[in-house]
Symmetry: C2
Subunit: 543 residues, 2 copies
């Protein structure tokens, strides 16, 4: 029996329409790529978004067309989040940190037919234009006065489009399962793979993000994502903030400590999100200036796991509480979050800190399971490690053009490629990327645990554990570390430091201090490259 | 272009499955109809729910069948919320306060084929059974030892079904638009009309309820709805609480001040919801005992508008903050809620109080508009009053069997039958029920404003303003009031009290003190009955 409720599809433009009507003056603030701070209310944001929607239709953008961006976190990018999706086209947010060859590859693989770019990338777009023959129009996200000389000669100018088009637009009636966004995963193996979001998945995810045990967004919040808008849609905060009328602060290009600290202070930011290195930068800056921040309530940390020392330092210097988060481009991205349960109200400070090192617990909407080598589900005992698989209305069912189909199981789950445990309380603890696993004497050694152990040493900046072949144990861990500026350390001391913190047989046979580690476009150590270097040892020089 | 996200329908059993897995020991506590307090964790609740799901299938309940309840807010009713909907049947929660004739009417109109009832209603079910010939099986929601003698001889016993059935059950793959629940509106005009909810509408509504600016539910909350589970699903709190792992307290039958205060205190309740009279009872009780409550954070008040004096008293005696809410059975029911905006952070206490008297502001998901007599949308200026119409994914599109189709507009909105204003900040202010409107000299007089004005007098208990015919002005207001126990008042003094608070031409020609006012099954004054009585004046005796 069919129910008798209104069939109102979940559509992204409804979010900005709501914010404009009920929070017209609540601000979207950004540091423009051109330098100045820009601010306007949601009502004005909607008007400009509708002008751009008219412009897109005028340019010939059709439903389903992929419209690409090479852009930082700014108000114009925010407008495209709604204008492109609202007319039924698909917003492809290209990661500009990719190698030029990869940018061309994803643009062509996506069959992007329009490209919006920030001034930063004007020269690169000119250089690459010929290799992206499907692009029908390129739009510089600036005004005519600030258009860089190196921009393509045929580039249109964003502010010209805003001025030339009217602020009224009737959003078309889209099916909620229509594609709205396309993000390519960073792809540390093989080519990047495209994740194709729907209006439905994005709206449901934005609603879930706002819940108190997730990001806890209200109209009284000031939300600043310090993940760029090309990283899994900045965790969808540009959708989740207007859905509840929260103020949104977009940091533009500059994610250095001074720039971020300035925005937090000036805009009264309550919610921050980003990878650990961002907060190290802010803490370093505050150490130098002696300034204190007073507005921060929550710092969501994802991308890579922070150490206990880092959590303490961030909470001490920035104020607020750290909530670790885990997610992937394929999970929209929120998968789990580490929010206190009521039974944690009276726990000791050290227990709180240890708890915060777990990736977090599942929320309604994302099913999690740990699967063993024969495909059997493993117990939730905090010990049994296996492949982490997820399922839910904001999880990918396939990659674009059916690439990488092996990641999707026959019974409808996505295999994340992570190795993890789940405990009885539902806490997820990542132990490895499947492809980075070290298997020694038939048992797994957690590279993340080894890296965390050595990073708790005050001289260590970064670490990467990799497996090296061993005649008896198949593999043994090698731990590569970089040191903080001005610090020195004895490798044997570091080994002893690790040995005191992990199981005896996990202790690496060698800790090697190196000058640098290879970092990929999303800020993670490229272990595949490390392993390549190790197989040709002259490439990896001890410092 | 279709997106590539998992097609996971929004289904109600997923909520209890989530709570059982991630919050297995978080409690559902209820005061059983038989007297004792019952408590168990969500994991045990799921097991019992699955036993009942097996029992339902065994009894021959088919997808789409209507399964009725005549029941208070208890753990067994909670189990039926998930078991009945989870197997694809439709839970019809009959309001047992309806007149017996109406109970029979709605059961037959709904074509209920199964009936679950609390001991309270055992005798009534025996008496009415013959008039409900479609009912195939009746189940007493108790154990065999407590089965009342007056129960139907052929009644099954709930706990027998629990014991006889296994705790494993695979929920069927239901379409999310399948009907899950059926509630009849109280229908002050004509027959009751059925609202047929879907899994989708209920899940979306439960997610929206949890957001910080709505009910703000987290795993750290203890949620106690003091609206019965047959009143628009107790505002869907039995779904919204497990969705986030909040503890749920169901008060059973007893909504008197002492019983409610005891549960708040013993269970550490943080969130309360109910009509104003409930909180008057609790405040009276606390006045008598001198006890103080310390756990309450939020008191959501709906059903009828509280006065300023009442808001103050409730906040003072119960602790926490009042959030007024407005909704209807047809809106699942959350329509608007009165939550502070950031700009209210530094407002004066009196301004806060005045703000809290508005019904609230719209949330994402519910579109609101005010429509004039010619169907034109009226400005959001806080002054233009007209028909309140709503639209959204948790709003009815039609009544069951297409009754009352006039309430649904051709362009897809539901006409609430309320007269209201919206202001520039999005605040909804109800001024009247359309059918209760007083039109004097071509202009509307707000009966709610008149009633609120006289209720601020310390001697007044309840009030009802009705229009009486007038040769010159068409209608003029008459204000009927009841006094608090032991209080006396002069009608002319009350008239002066009102005159000081409303526009001069609104002042009623007469304030009449009466012994009682006719109250309907949902606790509201039956104005139609009042008007009938006024047209035959001997019925309405001044005290």
């Amino acid at each position: 029996m069919q129910a008798l409720m209104m069939d109102r599809p979940l559509r992204l433009p409804s979010i900005l329409e709501y914010a404009a009507q009920y929070h017209p003056d609540r601000e979207v603030v950004d540091r423009m790529v051109e330098g100045p701070i820009h601010r306007y209310g949601y009502a004005d944001a909607l008007k400009r978004t509708k002008r751009i929607a008219n412009a897109l239709v005028g340019l010939g953008v059709k439903p389903g067309d992929r419209v690409a961006t090479l852009a930082w976190s700014t108000h114009r990018h925010f407008e495209l989040y709604f204008a492109v999706t609202g007319i039924g086209a698909v917003l492809h947010t290209i990661n500009p940190r990719l190698h030029a060859d990869q940018i061309v590859w994803v643009a062509n693989h996506a069959e992007d037919s329009f490209l919006f770019f920030d001034n930063t990338f004007a020269g690169q777009v000119s250089e690459l234009a010929e290799q992206m023959p499907l692009i029908k129009a390129k739009v510089a996200m600036t005004d005519r006065a600030r258009l860089p000389a190196e921009a393509p000669k045929d580039a249109l100018v964003y502010e010209d489009l805003v001025e030339a088009n009217p602020p009224d637009f009737d959003w078309p009636e889209l099916d909620e399962r229509q594609a709205s966004g396309l993000c390519y995963t960073s792809g540390t193996t093989g080519n990047p793979k495209g994740v194709l979001y729907s209006h439905r998945s994005t709206v449901l995810h934005a609603m879930a993000l706002g819940l108190p045990d997730a990001f806890n967004f209200s109209a009284r919040d000031v939300v600043m994502p310090c993940a760029q808008m090309y990283h899994a849609n900045a965790w969808c905060t540009p959708y989740a903030a207007p859905l509840v009328g929260a103020k949104l602060v977009l940091p533009g290009r500059a994610l250095d400590g001074a720039s971020i600290a300035e925005l937090i202070d000036q805009e009264g930011v309550t919610f921050l999100l980003g990878v650990p290195t961002i907060w190290v930068g802010v803490a370093d800056h505050l150490d130098q200036t002696g300034a204190r921040l007073t507005s921060v309530k929550t710092i969501a940390i994802g991308g890579s796991a922070p150490t206990a020392a880092l959590v303490s330092r961030i909470e001490d210097r920035l104020g607020g509480h750290v909530r670790q988060i885990w997610g992937m481009t394929e999970t929209s991205p929120l998968g789990v979050i580490n929010t206190a349960l009521p039974e944690h109200a009276n726990e000791a400070a050290d227990a709180t800190l240890q708890r915060k090192l777990k990736q977090g617990r599942g929320l309604w909407g994302v099913d999690l399971r740990i699967v063993g080598p024969e495909g059997q589900e493993l117990p939730r005992d905090g010990k049994s490690a296996g492949n982490l698989q997820v399922r839910g209305p904001w999880v990918s069912s396939a990659y674009f053009k059916n690439d990488g189909s092996a990641a999707f199981t026959d019974d409808g789950w996505f295999d994340t490629g992570d190795i993890a445990t789940l405990d009885a309380q539902g806490y997820l603890r990542l132990t490895d990327r499947a492809k980075d696993v070290i298997k020694s004497g038939g048992e797994w050694i957690s590279t993340l645990d080894l890296e965390e152990a050595v990073c708790s040493h005050p001289a260590v900046a970064m670490a990467a554990a990799v497996g090296v072949p061993h005649p008896k144990w198949d593999e043994r861990p090698l731990l590569l570390v970089t040191l903080r500026p001005g610090q020195t350390a004895d490798p044997e001391d570091l080994k002893a430091h690790v040995a005191a913190r992990v199981a005896k047989w996990w202790t690496p046979d060698e800790v090697r201090i190196v000058e640098s580690l290879p970092i990929g476009p999303t800020g993670k150590v490229l272990k595949r490259e490390l392993r390549d270097q190790l197989s040709t040892p002259e490439k990896l020089r001890a410092s």
